[in-house]
Symmetry: C2
């Protein structure tokens, strides 16, 4: 039902692209025709970029970021390590959003989601144990809980604060500028930088 007149190779490409977020069968067909039209300048480079990504991209075992090495470039950056600042985010998209906001030297910890009792997501489903372990090592002086301003995000922030209370580390959260119910990744970069600057103690 996609582009079967073009043979199974084209069909399969359409079906796979249609599984990307934001694309459906129709936009996947358009994308494939565009790729075929721009074969040398877009399809060939995209094919090799994907091949390289398949071979090289991995999840950082320390922080949950995606990179081509583990520990990742962020985790091994002396300036970031020296900052003692660890920003906890729900997913890698939020990490990227904060990096684009140019917030300065910081380390990250990617939770991989939020606690969500209704969806059956408990602490053991998130990278919370590894966060506690990182704080235990003693190199972190401040933690910013940069979780989304949703109910689940705030539940998660409270849970993490409880877990980290005994380590005497300063814990704050993003404050001004994050609209209630809003998701970080949708905010403009100025708002994000502002929210970080005006962070409040938790």
């Amino acid at each position: 039902m996609s582009g079967r007149s073009g043979g199974p190779e084209i069909d399969q490409l359409i079906q796979l692209l249609a599984r990307l977020p934001g694309l459906g069968p129709r936009s996947a067909r358009r994308a494939v025709l565009h790729l075929i039209k721009k074969k040398e300048t877009l399809m060939v480079p995209l094919a090799s970029a994907l091949d390289r990504a398949v071979d090289s991209v991995m999840t950082c075992q320390n922080c949950g970021n995606v990179d081509t090495i583990s520990p990742c470039h962020i985790c091994t950056d002396p300036k970031r390590i020296a900052s003692g600042l660890l920003i906890v985010v729900e997913d890698v998209a939020d990490l990227w959003a904060l990096e684009r906001a140019g917030i300065g030297a910081a380390l990250y910890h990617v939770l991989g989601g939020t606690l969500s009792p209704l969806d059956g997501v408990g602490p053991e489903d998130l990278n919370i144990n590894s966060l506690v372990q990182r704080v235990e090592t003693g190199d972190i002086s401040e933690i910013v809980l940069a979780v989304n301003a949703t109910v689940d995000g705030q539940t998660t922030a409270h849970y993490i604060t409880d877990q980290l209370q005994s380590f005497g580390v300063k814990i704050s959260r993003l404050a001004h500028g994050v609209p209630v119910g809003g998701e970080l990744d949708y905010l403009d970069e100025g708002t994000l930088a502002q929210a970080l600057k005006a962070r409040t103690n938790f």
Copy 2:
């Protein structure tokens, strides 16, 4: 400015995906994170599907369809050849849309656009000469001009009708169901089938 925290491989992948129609930088970042999350079930298959497409997809030298052989499967299908029916479309997306509509055995000719004096698109920029040559061979008994119901589409239909007049072939166009100013590829399949059934002489 995309996902530089993830290294150049991820950055390049985002930049290339952002050039697909319907995707921007933000949705390209989401797509890449989704691909990384679904590495084995989506990224690896997509990478090999793209590699196969790069190696195998070509434009049919006869009709302008995309396929893995030239002449394509449509052009060499005995049932379609026997039909004597040739449907002229603007682009491959329209060919696919008509095939999905299940209109029965027919050959196609992809113009590659429409005449557009304002944009400097003349007859020599479209596959019109090759259309005339196909009709000259005498195996075509009827032509349906399935061009979009836009001003340029109708200009193109008139021009082609003039070019083919001397061959004594029946020329019709899609009629009922195609909204004025509408593009074929957006129509539902029933409407398209209906429009073809009720085609009128040109």
